[in-house]
Amino acid sequence: MKKIIKYVVLDILRNRILVSYTVLLLVVSMLLLCLTDNGTKALLSLLNIVLIVLPLVSIIFSTIYYYNASAFIELLVCQPLRRTKILLSVYVGLALSLLIAFCVGVGVPLLIFDGSITAVLLIVVGMALTVIFSALAILGSVIMRDKARGIGVAILSWFYFSLLYDGLVLFLLFQFSDYPLEKPAVVMGALNPIDLGRIIVLLRLDSAAMMGYTGAVFASFFGSVGGMLTAFVLLLIWMGWPLCWALRRFNRKDL
């Protein structure tokens, strides 16, 4: 398994896209951290980048990589290797390289220039989102046989999680504003990893005005620390289920 991960990581690191992604993240975070005098403001801007750009790059890059590696996977499947191990190694290799890119691009500057607990929290959230969205990408590409369709699904799911979802929550809130919505709102928050990430960092920053409805409910429902812990547990679940589903699906797939 280690050997396959090695080949995947080497293959990805040779790819210029990932290098330019790292450089882009590095430039943006340096600019934000050095040019903004207010630390919290810089963190919030970085948070937005982490919440929007990171999932997009993770899901698209992973999807395209999976389809490009289909020849490699086919070659491995007729070797004496377990299918679970093959897919898991491809996934780990992908997630690992994206994590390296994120840590170099955002993690290192944050730790050097800021170093607060909030910064650490932001890094953890970014890492979790990277892992989650590459798992979602693997799930989508295992299910979809066609490359174009797979990439379409990847873009759509990013679109849903980062844009459509907020609109949907607002729509539901207005439609059902006569009813108590605290509990449904908690459930709705749990259904979106990006929202969970935002809630975690904003609970720490205590900037309630930016938290949105689900975040406010989380704060009042679980308290600041409890809300953060709950959100973390939910993020862990988000890391697990797409991968488990993808592995089960891949074991029965005809190549």
């Binding site: 050997k3 396959i4 080949y7 293959d11 040779r14 590696a69 289909s70 020849a71 490699f72 086919e74 070659l75 491995l76 499947v77 007729c78 070797q79 004496p80 290797l81 377990r82 299918r83 029965r252 797939k253 005809d254 190549l255």
Partner: protein
């Protein structure tokens, strides 16, 4: 050595394999023949675990292969359409396979015969169809497997290379290996195979010794014998 029991496989509306029962003993060379779309490749892929059958069981040395992977160390597979990581060179692919698999003894006869070391630095995407076939053949024989599965081995090879490959197949059968070959070119199978299994529409029409087939049809050449069988609408 290999036994298929009541194998069914359906792709959408197409019944690709329909109650296949076959068994192949060691040190035989068997030809799987049949028209396009008769299920030959699906059968081979289900043996390799690339296609999961809907029903039935496949055993390798009397233990089921479904859900297992270690038996594949004993199979060398040469696919009909080979897929390799496009940006790796020939030598990188070979090294990677050696790295991933455990082996005692490498069989590099074909590597030498096909003069692959001269092409070692070429990326896979720049190779012609025939050269890719050569790489596939080398990889299939490289780890000295007990079973060789060759799907259209000589398609795309030039006459010299195809002759080298045929000699190698004969030699390995003599060494006690089971060789499964699918091919449409019946004339080149004449000297190679001991048994013939004929598939049509996902069903096994017959599975016979070549000698028996020759005796029944009164023809010496496999091409003519098969033509006679088809004219008479099966045996």
């Amino acid at each position: 050595m290999i036994r298929f029991t009541n194998i069914y496989k359906r792709f959408g509306r197409l019944q690709a394999l329909d109650n296949i029962n076959l068994s192949f003993p060691a040190s035989k060379s068997v030809a799987l023949i049949g028209p396009n779309g008769s299920g030959k490749t699906t059968l081979i892929k289900s043996l390799l675990g690339m296609v999961v059958p809907d029903k039935g069981d496949i055993t390798f040395k009397d233990s089921s292969i479904l859900g297992s992977c270690d038996y594949r160390a004993n199979i060398g597979y040469m696919p009909q359409i080979s897929s390799y990581p496009e940006n790796m060179t020939i030598s990188q692919v070979m090294e990677m396979m050696k790295d991933i698999r455990q082996y005692n003894k490498l069989d590099e006869d074909l590597v030498k015969a096909f003069k692959l070391p001269q092409l070692a630095g070429k990326p896979m995407r720049t190779l012609s169809g025939g050269t890719r076939q050569k790489v596939s053949a080398c990889l299939a024989f490289l780890f000295n497997p007990e079973v060789l599965v060759l799907d259209e081995p000589t398609a795309g090879l030039d006459p010299v290379a195809s002759g080298i490959l045929q000699d190698k197949i004969l030699q390995e059968t003599k060494n006690g290996k089971l060789v499964l070959i699918t091919s449409h070119i019946l004339s080149e199978l004449d000297d190679l195979v001991d048994e013939v299994a004929y598939l049509q529409d996902g069903k096994v029409q017959f599975h016979k010794q070549v000698a028996a087939l020759q005796a029944e049809t009164g023809e010496q050449k496999l091409v003519r014998a098969m033509a006679r069988v088809m004219e008479n609408g099966g045996l």
